[in-house]
């Protein structure tokens, strides 16, 4: 698999799920956390640090074969957690765990250090606790990932890079189909679907579990 040295997928997932639409959260908080979590796992799968075994109940396991630990703190955090588990856990449990781990803040903090986001802390006059919010430094940065994958869907000229193909699948899975396909030419959905079908089996399983987790959220209302 190709290397993914920077955690770009997880940044893109955060911007698409939470900031592409005039800085308002595009999807429900839990759905955003699920999407960001799936993107982080996908990055580590692409960089060869972890493996998803669809034939073994989609369990997430560490890979030790000649790969240096992830250079970024986010990837390292998750890789260490995967490594620390006494036995490999299924992807749905990892997605559930990442959804309750405040992954949005962890990722946004990471993006602050790379100069992509601003961190603002406001102390409430009435409550002792302060409120932290994150905003992209530039509206163009916030909209760039969705614009990029929409460009693929509009031109349909060549095959999308693997991370972008996964990002398209992820954007659809979190319920942003309308934003994704708005004003795209006829055949864009089929083009995207063909890419989703040709994703490697671990990423297909990851995408399937993400879509299932979002649907389960809609059924139970556990936001």
């Amino acid at each position: 698999m190709p290397d993914a040295p920077t955690p770009r997928l997880v940044y893109d997932a955060l911007l698409i799920t939470s900031h592409h639409d005039f800085y308002k959260p595009a999807v429900a908080p839990r759905v955003a956390e699920l999407g960001i979590g799936a993107a982080l796992v996908a990055e580590l799968v692409l960089s060869g640090h972890v493996a998803v075994r669809p034939e073994d109940g989609s369990r997430l396991a560490p890979r030790d074969i000649g790969v240096a630990p992830p250079a970024d703190s986010l990837g390292l955090w998750l890789t260490e957690l995967v490594r620390a588990e006494p036995e490999p856990l299924p992807v749905p449990e990892w997605l559930e765990f990442l959804a309750v781990s405040d992954l949005y803040s962890k990722t946004a903090d990471h993006m602050v250090t790379t100069g992509l986001m601003h961190r603002t802390e406001r102390r409430s006059r009435w409550r002792k606790a302060s409120q932290v919010s994150y905003e992209p430094v530039d509206a163009f940065i916030a909209q760039a990932p969705l614009a990029r994958i929409r460009r693929h869907l509009t031109s349909m000229e060549q095959r999308m890079p693997l991370p972008d193909a996964f990002l398209v699948a992820l954007t659809e899975a979190v319920g942003l189909s309308r934003s994704l396909y708005s004003q795209t030419p006829y055949g864009a959905r089929d083009y995207a679907r063909s890419h989703t079908r040709s994703l490697p089996a671990p990423l297909q399983a990851l995408h399937g579990h993400l879509a299932a987790a979002v649907a389960a959220t809609a059924i139970t209302g556990n936001l």
Partner: protein, 501 residues
């Protein structure tokens, strides 16, 4: 020497903090049932329709049947995905073709049950408005409620649950107050006759049992949260059985208290004279006139809550079927910001609106022709669904006990099948009593025929999917996880899927 234990999983320890306990699941299932609607809108009508005082005994019989059913049902829910929908149990137990047939009957029944409540709601609102000097037609009040329910239905389920929880607490408090007052103002002292076997039987027995089942709908909902339960083996079973027990206690107490307050010789005549207002009239006589208004206003909120609850259940069914692509995939869409099953919810809202408009334009009676006819017909459909689900549970465990006890997999499921089949048989043959028409007339025969036709159409559609769209067929019964089964070509499917039934 002690054996070294496996190191704990940090991920599972973190997730355990967020798991739902028995009380959380009980909250979800009890809010799906709305006891004041059942008692004020159903129990008094049962006295009038059945012409006998054995209603508390009818509730005991149904509670026992549903308790037996719950034993196998909650046990099977541990072994399957999409455990919130009964058609999924049928798909796993009896096969996907009966599963789709059941899904069509279930969606229609829940949809009809929700729509029928607009009739009771309109009439109750009309009465409340009349009391304060306003004249509002039933359909106008029903349309206001329809709009509110339509809006709440497109919001997240947890918002609805909070609204329903507050209403439920007030309802239960008022029912217990009214019941205590009835017992303290007994006409002829406390009588045990309503609980004796002789008080219950004849042509009306099936009608009473069918109406009693409707009051418990919602008891099945803890299985929806099976994957989020603290202990999947015990929490769901405890919550389901506790729901049946609590609802049975409320219904038995309230119906017995009405008999005690009016007198066993007079209750049938009193209920026939004032089927929608007897309970509140008793409270007004005993506690003061203000309680009549309080009761009617609470009945209004209770029926609204019941309609909202059935709206959510129907939307969940349609959403799961949309996700499986058994019906149009558009129904599987969620709203972006709230992650609610928005397309399914709007579909149910549209059906409700059409029903209200149709009944208003045709000038049909909202209480008899909408609430009662449509509601009892839906009750028969739901009873057939529960019975088919009981058979599916028995068949599922007959093939493989999956390490569960004989009581949970053989004895209780078989007893539940026999008991529920008996109740269904009595309900169908006594359906004319339920509708208040002559034996042998067209209407009571039409409803079972309609459900049978729906089931046949569903089965035919499933057979078509098996031949023309096998990938969709593979995902039947998996609900939220259908796309996973479809995309992985059944990698994560159960042995039933692997066998291609």
């Amino acid at each position: 020497m002690s054996t070294p234990s496996a190191p704990p999983s940090a991920v599972r320890s973190t997730l355990a903090h967020d798991k739902l306990g028995t009380f959380s699941l009980l909250h979800f299932s009890l809010t799906a049932a709305t006891p004041l609607t059942v008692i004020a809108g159903g129990v008094v009508v049962m006295f009038a329709v059945a012409g006998q005082i054995g209603i508390p005994l009818g509730y005991i019989v149904i509670a026992a049947c549903l308790w037996l059913f719950s034993v196998g049902y909650t046990t099977m829910s541990r072994h399957i995905t999409n455990a919130g929908a009964m058609y999924a149990f049928i798909a796993r137990g009896l096969g996907r073709i009966p599963g789709v047939a059941a899904a069509w009957v279930a969606a229609t029944s829940y949809c009809a049950m929700q729509a029928c409540l607009y009739g009771l709601l309109g009439v109750t609102a009309e009465g409340v408005m009349d009391r304060i000097g306003l004249t509002v037609p039933w359909w106008a009040a029903a349309l206001v409620a329809w709009l509110l329910i339509g809006l709440l239905g497109t919001r997240a389920v947890d918002i609805n649950a909070k609204v329903l929880a507050v209403l439920l607490m007030v309802e239960i408090a008022v029912i217990l107050l009214f019941s205590a007052s009835n017992f303290m103002n007994a006409a002829d002292g406390l009588s045990l006759a309503p609980l004796s076997p002789g008080s219950f039987g004849g042509e009306a027995a099936g009608a009473v049992l069918a109406l009693a089942v409707v009051g418990f709908i919602g008891f099945e909902s803890p299985t929806v949260y099976g994957e989020e339960a603290r202990d999947r083996r015990r929490t769901v079973a405890r919550a389901t059985i506790a729901t049946v027990g609590i609802l049975a206690f409320i219904y038995i107490t309230a119906s017995w208290s009405i008999i005690t307050a009016v007198g066993e010789d007079d209750v049938v005549a009193a209920a026939s004279a004032d089927p929608s207002g007897l309970m509140f009239a008793l409270a007004g006589d005993q506690l003061g006139g203000a309680w009549v208004t309080i009761g009617e206003v609470l009945l209004l909120t209770s029926v609204t809550a019941a309609a909202l609850s059935f709206h959510n259940t129907t939307a969940r069914y349609l959403f799961a079927l949309g996700r499986e692509q058994v019906v149009t995939a558009r129904l599987g869409r969620t709203s972006v910001r709230a992650c609610a099953p928005v397309a399914a919810s709007l579909t149910q809202t549209a059906v409700g609106g059409i029903v209200i408009a149709l009944w208003a334009v045709l000038g049909l009676d909202p209480l008899t022709h909408l609430f009662f006819y449509l509601g009892t017909a839906a009750g028969i459909g739901l009873l057939a669904l529960i019975t088919a689900c009981a058979v599916a549970v028995a068949v599922y465990f007959w093939r493989d006990q999956r390490g569960e006890s004989t009581w949970h997999t053989r004895v209780a499921p078989v007893l539940a099948c026999v008991a529920l089949a008996g109740v269904l048989y009595l309900s169908v043959i006594h359906f004319h009593t339920l509708l208040g028409v002559e034996k042998g007339s067209l209407l009571p025969r039409l409803v079972p025929i309609l459900f049978a036709a729906l089931a046949l159409l569903g089965a035919g559609w499933a057979a078509y999917l098996k031949r023309a769209r096998p990938e969709v067929y593979a995902g039947i019964g998996y609900g939220a996880k259908a796309t996973l089964v479809q995309s992985t070509g059944g990698v994560e499917a159960s042995p039933e899927v692997a066998r291609g039934r």
